[in-house]
Amino acid sequence: MIDQFAFLIAEGFKSFYRNKLASFLCVITIFINFSILGSLFVVGYNTNSLVDFFRSKYSFEVFLVDSVDQNIYLEFVEQLSESTIISSTEIIDKEKSASIFKEEFGEDVVEMLGYNPLPLSIKVFINEENFDFNQVDLLIESINSYDFVDEIEYRGKYIDDVEDRINLAVFLFLVFVIAIIFLSYQIISNTVNLSMTNRRDFIDILKYNGASGLFIKIPFYIESILYSVLGSVVSFLFVKYFFISFNNYFGLNIKMDDYLWLWIIGFSIFIGLYSSNQSMKRNLNE
């Protein structure tokens, strides 16, 4: 059994070696494809962080009418704090508003006008987890229905737009990723096809001597695993050192998934095995 397995592995390596040019081109193509794919993984990974960043900054401000009673608005704030979609609230009273105004415009509005015209407001921060714009819209709508609410400053639409664009970019990435996966599939499948055509005699002799389908396939599986592993290991190293250099050069902090190597190599092997299996099915009339 061990001798038989050793024979099959050796056959896989021989097949890889005998189709030197096709094997080399296949490895290079997998390297290019998976370098692009790996880079997209990294970009995708950081896109999520970008979305999370925007969401963490998501807030709106509720301005109240001057005549509002303190008890009413304190009760209102307490009600807001109980909502699951709100992470925290901050009361900005008239004095604080005046000091913010002074900080931003350099003028003391109370001194200038003789009274404080700035309204009392409540800043509401939204929970990042299970973030849903529809729920936020409903919340704003319900807050707006209170008599003591004068106005709501709502920048959700800008963030919504940014997220839409990020989502579009992610969608385009996905389309690109699918195209690359398909290309890799085709290339490995065609290379195994070529290898099987070149070794038609070998396959026939195996068949006539009682080799099972699996016995015939194993060397070709090994061959495709070799293409995948070689191409993807080089592409992983390329992606890793490319982003390390990129971060160092531009002083950025683009993060990489700790399991990026596993994603790239594992995915490449999966595509390799699947495409070679499809190719073998065609060649062996299964």
């Binding site: 001798d3 038989q4 024979f7 005699d201 002799i205 195996l206 006539y208 001597n209 009682g210 099972s212």
Partner: protein, 217 residues
Amino acid sequence: MVDFKNISYSYSKESGIFDINLEVKDGEFCFLVGPTGSGKTSLLKMIYFDILPSVGELDVLGFNSKKTKKNKIHKLRKKIGVIFQDYKLLQQRTVYENIALPLHINGLGRKKIKDNVEEALELADLLDCQNKYPNQLSGGEQQRVCIARAIVKNPELILADEPTGNLDPAAAHKILKILEQINKEGTTVIMATHNYKLISDRDHRIIELKSGSLVSL
């Protein structure tokens, strides 16, 4: 051993094999004769289930053509050694490696493979050629490699498809003698040929085919 029951298989209206009833018993040596295109190769291909009959039923070494699933055919082929007119040797492998191939398929260990291959080399008178490549051998020697590859796994049945077709008379006689020796040791041999001169002085059963039908048994 081999039992054809009303077997037919057609490539077109006029070519194929038609309504064959034939039985080959254990330990027999049969010649399958007939002109080119008479259906000899088709008949042999049927025995190792490379083609399956469109009509009738075929039993080979306990495998039935109707009941055997496609993924079980390899089990039958393990019991059969096939010799081809065009040798079908792997040019990038030595004689030794070519002969050892069926034993790797059968999962034998290295030591057992070495012993069996040496035995087959000796029987086929190829001990001096074991490290040579097929293209360094004569036609007769290549055919003997093909025979050695067929017998190395000790099959129950040997199918030889025109094994002397490309050989001179002396080499052809040598091949025939080797096959007869294998048969003496108990292996059933079915040999297709159109070389009547070669087999005329042999005392074996002759099965004659003409245009895909049996003429004589």
